[in-house]
Symmetry: C2
Subunit: 235 residues, 2 copies
């Protein structure tokens, strides 16, 4: 039976309902998430909300009821993929060769960006409203930091590499993908290979200093909100 007082907590802090959804509502929620995944992956994060509702076979109102903002829908749709990202990190840590683990992880994440137009950009944003999503991102990040530590300890990763460099790489790769996904898919592989070589301890020459962690985090805050349209009339 449905608990009406218990901490249902399916999504831990889902902004919307506290008690369990009615069966049909939950079904539609799943359909919406599935539809959003497909459509975002194929056409990016800027598709009209209505198209997603149609693709899910429900009305727009239903979508808005469950996901009041576009950010909510994006976070909901990509929670699983972000978790997969974190898992990939854990998996890379299992590699006995620290450098191979590090490189493999970079390649894996870049590949995930290439496979999903939407995810490519999601990785360069934050969704403070979705705790679960952010928790997964954090898990992924912690795993990555450990990968970095190991690879540096092994003397294969340059010592001036910092965690923020991953965010920078993901933004760059998103740019490569945006420009080449249609006409020259696969270009991202070459790009990733170049970057990995730059990260190698071998080539290490001095670099401009990286942005402070807090600063880079603020950059990620490109969350869907101010991102849409900020432009105020000028003149």
């Amino acid at each position: 039976m449905a608990q009406k007082a218990g901490p249902a907590e399916t999504g831990a802090g889902r902004a919307v309902p506290c008690r369990a959804l009615r069966a049909d509502a939950e079904r539609n929620r799943q359909r919406l998430i599935a539809a959003a995944r497909e459509v975002f992956a194929e056409r990016g994060l800027d598709v009209p909300i209505e198209d997603i509702a149609r693709h899910a076979g429900v009305g727009v109102a239903t979508l808005y009821r469950r996901f009041p903002t576009r950010g909510d829908l994006i976070a909901g749709a990509f929670e699983a993929k972000m978790a997969a990202c974190a898992d990939a990190g854990a998996c890379a840590l299992a590699d006995p060769d620290p450098w191979a683990g590090f490189c493999g992880y970079i390649e894996r994440v870049c590949a995930m960006q290439a496979e999903d137009r939407g995810f490519a950009n999601v990785l360069t944003m934050t969704f403070p409203a979705d705790k679960h999503f952010e928790a997964e991102r954090d898990r992924a990040y912690q795993g990555f930091i450990e990968l970095v530590r190991r690879a540096q300890a092994a003397g294969r990763l340059r010592t001036d590499f910092v965690g923020e460099d991953l965010a920078m790489l993901l933004m760059a790769n998103a740019g490569v993908i945006a420009g080449t996904a249609d006409a020259a898919p696969g270009t991202w592989r070459r790009f990733a290979a170049y970057m990995i070589q730059a990260f190698s301890a071998d080539a290490a020459a001095p670099l401009p200093s990286p942005p402070a962690p807090a600063v880079m985090y603020r950059a990620l805050l490109h969350l869907y909100q101010a991102g849409t349209r900020d432009q105020r009339r000028s003149d």
Copy 2:
């Protein structure tokens, strides 16, 4: 006089007349270009056309009359900057140290992207309609190819570097800038430094093969047209 050349034509024919413009019309044209430069630089290529007209102090109709499509306006506004790009290449060729010239050019172009939100994206597009613009792009590209040849001959640039890698780099840097321009400007410097190290002959390890020139060109064809909205309704 700005332009009086050209046999009418051009098929769909630039609505732009081929004989010299009337004095007031030419004045407004210049104002529009100046306004477009400022607004594009500050807010990117997607600003409403009307804002540019307002900023120039003219009506929208005037803008449309002179630049029938957004692409025409963009090409017109950035012709000068593209020429500056080509000049930078020529300047870099004057450097007695081939590798320093190559690196300096990369940094210079990346800096130009960082300085101008609009230009960052312009560099990843083509405007077949604007012959002058494309001629400047070609001049820049030819200069770059020569820089590459010299740097490779000097043994400092990896031999598997190809011209298309520049386009790839510019797309990547555009992504970095899009993500960091507001909160962490300057990140692009670190990115550019990483890339330059990856291009160095020192670190050279095998790379995935690059896209064919024609393929990469097609990728650049992200021209303002299909770029705006292609999405047809599905389902």
